[in-house]
């Protein structure tokens, strides 16, 4: 019996150690050492004293915030309407399906759609607007990122909405609330856990999407992810790259703490 348990543990624990703990520790170590291998806080000092890095970080957070907001505004009504449908599981499947298409291919489609002679420009040409530079702009970056993240926002919100007890909605209507009051006082508060996990699963990747900044943003938008990629693979400055990596991890942990589910309050509100 004991031996069997140990057998299960070996490979999994080996994985935990080698691919979870050690790499993150090495990343932290790199960020705390100089080229010559000495322990130093210099990387962080130069990060915090460099206007470029700070501006880049601020920009990255701003864009991630914008992308999250746009996807939330589009996704909440979508999730709500989906949860009201009869064949909702089927429609949900249609929302999930695009996420199974390779991310690169979806991004690549937008290169064609947004290019100077592309379909988007011919479309606005119908209204007599001359071709615009659509590709390689900040807004194209936000557009494509939002497009890619929408299903990841719809899913958790849909799940939260779907779990709401229909009797509660019925009760609120019986007690004289109109549909807006029901939505505002009952459905939205009860679906907050879904919104939070949606925000989590959109905001964090948005900080680090580097291929979209390259392919669609045309290097105009630099996110934390782009900076890390460049420092690691182009300029080969792993120490600074790791430093920004640590900053990204801190941003990630902060996001998770802010959007953490407070189980107790949900329970109380849900009344279950």
């Amino acid at each position: 019996m004991k031996k069997g348990k140990l057998f299960f543990a070996v490979l999994y624990v080996l994985w935990l150690a080698l691919f979870v703990v050690v790499p993150i520790a090495l990343l932290l170590f790199q960020s705390l050492t100089s080229e010559s291998g000495q322990l130093t806080l210099n990387n962080f000092v130069s990060y915090f004293s460099s206007g470029t890095y700070l501006r880049m970080t601020f920009n990255s957070i701003f864009y991630a915030f914008l992308i999250t907001l746009i996807t939330l505004v589009i996704s909440y009504p979508t999730a709500y309407l989906l949860s009201q449908l009869k064949n909702r599981q089927f429609w949900l499947l249609l929302v999930i399906l695009p996420t199974w298409i390779n991310l690169l291919l979806k991004t690549y489609a937008f290169i064609g759609l947004l290019s100077r002679d592309g379909t988007a420009n011919s479309f606005i040409g119908l209204f007599g607007i001359s071709p615009q530079q659509l590709l390689f702009t900040d807004s194209s970056f936000v557009l494509v990122s939002s497009y890619i993240e929408i299903p990841f926002m719809i899913l958790p919100i849909f799940n939260a909405l779907n779990e709401i007890d229909r009797d509660l909605v019925q009760a609120s209507r019986d007690l004289g609330a109109n549909s807006w009051q029901t939505l505002w006082r009952l459905i939205i508060p009860l679906s907050m856990p879904g919104v939070k996990s949606g925000v989590q699963s959109v905001f964090i990747p948005s900080l680090s999407l580097f291929m979209i900044t390259r392919l669609i943003g045309g290097n105009r938008v630099i996110t934390l992810g782009t900076a890390i990629e460049e420092l690691f693979l182009t300029t080969q400055n792993w120490h600074m790259g790791s430093t920004i990596g640590v900053i990204l991890i801190i941003a990630m942990v902060a996001t998770m703490v802010i959007t953490r589910e407070r189980k107790k309050s949900v329970l109380r509100r849900g009344g279950k």
Partner: protein
């Protein structure tokens, strides 16, 4: 009624937006012209080009090998991990293990890629097939654990106890009782791992080195050079493959749900 109409219109609009880029991509794979604009007529020329592009075919095969190998290995290790976590007596230990398990799921791809790159360099592993394979196994394990664990937790303890009482040893219980019961979770985990591997770009990009390439990385480097309708043809094929995978996945998870209701039937 009027509100309903606006709602339906909105839903249609969202679905159109979700699918337009994909169908746009596929439609232009049949364009006889060279660009993703200006329809020149129907042709299969880009499919022929794709078929003749030995480098691309090689990369597709490599990608499939990596996806298959990594998801099989990740499923095995992940299932063992889930079994082990499930054995943990205290809830605290379980939660700590689960938190560690989730680290790679919530970490941004660049962090995983960069830290794996440092790790592989530190142990002196040269970048290529092996480093990509190891990375894919590593980031697929946690999702397998998360797919298998719920099935394990809903399995009645009485089942394994009954088997033990009837004289089954540890391995017999595992083989004849536990594994069949959680098989739908294992299959779901396998499919998730498969899609994680097929879909990954960022991690692979960091650890792939010069010689070896997967589909995502190849599409990225080709897309940086501009439009090539061969990629469109490829995306059409991949769309069909994804459809088939989704179908299989849903069939499996549905089966799993159905088994849940009769309870004991699954252990026959």
């Amino acid at each position: 009624m009027k509100k309903n109409k606006i709602g339906n219109l909105y839903l249609w609009l969202v679905f159109i937006v979700l699918y337009v880029p994909i169908f746009y991509l596929i439609t232009y794979s049949f364009n006889s012209g060279k660009y993703m604009h200006g329809w020149k007529g129907f042709s299969l020329i880009h499919y022929c080009q794709l078929w003749a592009d030995t480098r691309m075919i090689e990369i597709v095969v490599d990608t499939l090998i990596i996806a298959f190998l990594s998801s099989v290995l990740a499923t095995i290790i992940g299932t063992f991990g889930a079994l082990w976590i499930n054995f943990a007596k205290s809830q605290l230990t379980k939660n700590i293990l689960l938190n560690f398990n989730s680290i790679l799921l919530v970490s941004p791809d660049v962090i995983i890629g960069a830290s794996f790159l440092i790790f592989f360099t530190a142990i002196g592993l040269s970048l290529g097939f092996l480093s990509v394979l190891l990375s894919h196994i590593a980031f697929s394990i946690p999702i397998v654990v998360l797919m298998v664990l719920p099935r394990l937790q809903e399995m009645p303890v009485t089942l394994t106890e009954a088997a033990e009482d009837l004289g089954a040893n540890f391995w017999q219980v595992l083989n004849k009782v536990t594994l069949p019961y959680i098989s739908s979770g294992i299959m779901a985990g396998f499919f998730m791992a498969l899609t994680y591997s097929l879909d990954d770009f960022a991690v692979t990009f960091f650890v792939t080195g010069n010689g070896f390439s997967t589909l995502s990385v190849e599409i990225y480097s080709r897309a940086r050079q501009g439009i090539s309708l061969e990629i469109n043809a490829l995306s059409a094929i991949m769309f069909i493959v994804s459809l088939i995978l989704v179908f299989i996945y849903y069939f499996i998870s549905r089966n799993g749900n159905r088994k849940r209701t009769p309870g004991l039937e699954a252990t026959k």
